[in-house]
């Protein structure tokens, strides 16, 4: 029974995996720091899993209006205050977070939220 233990562990892990697939996802806190309208590091990919309860914590040194595409979450960001956006990551995919300016300017996403299937 050399493999007995590990098999049992695997079974339990698989069982827990099945549970967590159906149960609600985990809570995930994702940080995004913006300086002078740019995130650092630039255009990074913030990975979460499907059905996670995501808290996106954003700080900026100046007032901004940001938009998470796909989920279509928009919010004003006040300087030097942590703004928390909460959502459940139901849809999989890679969703850009962009700054929306008053004038139509060429935009590059600040970052991407990548929601991976479980």
């Amino acid at each position: 029974m050399r493999f007995g233990c590990s098999t049992r562990t695997l079974l339990i892990a698989a069982f827990l995996g099945t549970l967590s697939r159906h149960a609600l996802g985990e809570g995930r806190i994702v940080e995004l720091a913006i300086r002078a309208g740019e995130a650092s590091p630039k255009a990074s990919v913030l990975s979460v899993s499907q059905n996670d309860e995501v808290v996106l914590r954003i700080t900026s040194d100046r007032p901004l209006h940001i938009h998470l595409h796909g989920y279509d979450i928009e919010s004003d960001i006040l300087p030097n205050i942590v703004t928390s956006l909460r959502f459940t990551a139901t849809a999989t995919g890679r969703f850009p977070i962009e700054v929306h300016y008053k004038q139509d300017r060429k935009r590059q996403p600040l970052a991407y939220i990548e929601v991976r299937p479980r």
Partner: protein, 501 residues
């Protein structure tokens, strides 16, 4: 994540498409490997074992759909009239929306209707149903109605300019490259008023061309969309034909269905009902009609393929790196740097594809025991590549159609962004979870593998047709096999970006 910090210059557009965003995740490595391996194995099996069918000796399995009443109604003149009215109405509403509507791309019907409803939607219908565009083309419909209402004008039909033979489909190829540039490179592609002006400009050119050269001559040689959709429809499972009755040597009235010539839908609708045939056939059978392929059509098909591939390439980190490097290296070009770089990319991908196809067909011609010129080889095999283009259209645009396409539900109720709610759907919220990453992964993989296997099989059937000897046919196909396996691996690689890095 190395590429993340290399992207120092804030210059990459968020989307390489005409309009809107795709939220696709890249294909994971294990699926990429499964796909690549199955391509190689399945194609060898198909070529070597299954494909023995020679269209010269065996007719493909076909059914005439018109034996069913529903098909007689759908394929009848009144249905066409209604569909054309709808298309003309849609064209007018789109142009008006672009002109007077809200200029925010997502609040105006024009960008979504053009890039997703029409360009992606009609491509899919053409590839999987039949040459729908020929039936509904609103420009052709308006011109036909004009010709019918003013018979004096059309009396001068004989005085029209004859289409120069050498011109082939070069004008359509030129227009198609211009269209691809607008779709993939131009900044202003999602601004509603720009699109309205383009539609008006296209109308003027089309009608002038139809007036000068004749409607069908123009559509077949110079209209990039009529030609592109009809090329895709070569794969489709239906085809319109006319049965021509001819008496044979014994004098009996034997009916002979003209097998080589797929008829465009206009001739079908003009023919008496008794001689119309609406054929259900195996997918891809239409791509075996290689007799009428001209050198310019070869270029057109390769350009179609290369633009669709360049669209995918633009979304990869590799292209972003090239773009950034060129951006830094060419400050001389100022604000137009990105446009110049992407134009260069588009044109060079066309040139590279043409060059590779030329090399491969040279090898095929050399490997043929019977004398076959390079021109003959390139004309014979180019349509066999169409299933790969279709596979790529599926892999690349399916989630885009399902997710961004939902905007149309909202926009039909408020086409101008004036706050209307005509059909009560103005507040519809698109469900971005309608297709998940897994669905997109598996359909992409399936489409690319199957498209490739179909392409290999078609090329092999064409080779059998041209060379008769099965062994020689297999030998002549090794360069094509290499090309297609290579091409499909590249398509998978593009869909798999950037996880494979």
């Amino acid at each position: 994540m190395e590429w993340a910090w290399i992207g120092v210059v804030a210059c990459s557009p968020a989307s390489a498409h005409g309009f809107g965003l795709r939220y696709d995740l890249p294909l994971p490595l294990f699926l990429w490997i499964i796909g690549a391996a199955s391509i190689v194995i399945l194609s060898f099996l198909f070529v070597a074992i299954f494909v023995r069918w020679n269209p010269r000796t065996e007719a493909p399995a076909e059914v005439n759909l018109l034996r069913w009443k529903t098909a007689r109604v759908v394929g009848g003149q009144p249905s066409r009239f209604i569909a054309r009215l709808f298309a003309v109405g849609a064209l007018i509403v789109i142009i008006v929306a672009g002109m007077i509507g809200d200029q925010t791309p997502t609040r105006n019907l024009a960008p979504t209707a053009i890039w997703i409803g029409w360009w992606v939607g009609v491509s899919y219908l053409s590839a999987f149903i039949g040459d729908v565009w020929c039936v509904i083309n609103p420009w052709a419909a308006l011109f036909e109605w004009y010709e019918k209402s003013f018979p004096i004008q059309s009396a001068s039909r004989t005085a029209r300019i004859a289409w120069p033979r050498t011109l082939g489909v070069w004008p359509a190829t030129g227009f198609f490259i211009a269209f691809a540039w607008i779709e993939l490179v131009w900044d202003g592609r999602s601004i509603p008023s720009n699109l309205a002006w383009l539609a008006i400009g296209f109308s003027v050119i089309s009608w002038a061309g139809m007036r000068l050269f004749g409607r069908n001559i123009w559509l077949r040689h110079a209209d990039p969309f009529a030609l592109a959709f009809s090329v895709l429809a070569g794969f489709a499972p239906t085809e319109m034909r006319i049965e021509t009755r001819a008496s044979n040597a014994r004098g009996g009235g034997v009916s002979i269905v003209d097998p080589g010539q797929p008829v465009d839908c206009d001739r079908y609708y003009r023919a008496p009902e008794s001689s119309r045939r609406w054929i259900l056939r195996p997918p891809g059978a239409g791509l075996l009609h290689t007799k009428n392929v001209t050198p310019s059509l070869v270029v057109f098909v390769i350009v179609m393929l290369s633009t669709v591939t360049f669209d995918g390439l633009m979304a990869t980190p590799l292209w972003q790196r090239i773009e950034n490097a060129l951006y830094e290296a060419l400050p001389v070009l100022g604000d137009f740097r990105l446009t110049v770089i992407n134009t260069f990319g588009l044109l060079s991908s066309c040139a590279i594809f043409l060059a590779i196809y030329r090399v491969v067909t040279t090898l095929v011609a050399k490997a043929s025991p019977k004398f076959m010129t390079v021109e003959a080889a390139s004309q014979a095999f180019v349509l066999a590549l169409v299933p790969i283009a279709i596979a790529y259209l599926v892999a690349h645009y399916l989630s885009y159609l399902f997710i961004q396409g939902q905007l149309l539900i909202r926009l039909v109720s408020d086409p101008f962004g004036f706050g209307w709610n005509i059909f009560g759907s103005a507040h519809f919220r698109p469900d971005i979870g309608i297709v998940g990453a897994r669905f997109v992964w598996y359909t992409s993989l399936f489409a690319i593998v199957v498209g490739h296997v179909v392409a290999i099989s078609l090329a092999h059937i064409i080779a059998l047709h041209n060379l008769d000897d099965p062994r020689a046919a297999v030998r002549s196909q090794f360069p094509m096999l290499l090309l297609m396996v290579g091409y499909t691996m590249m398509s998978l690689w593009i869909v798999a970006q950037p996880i494979v890095e």
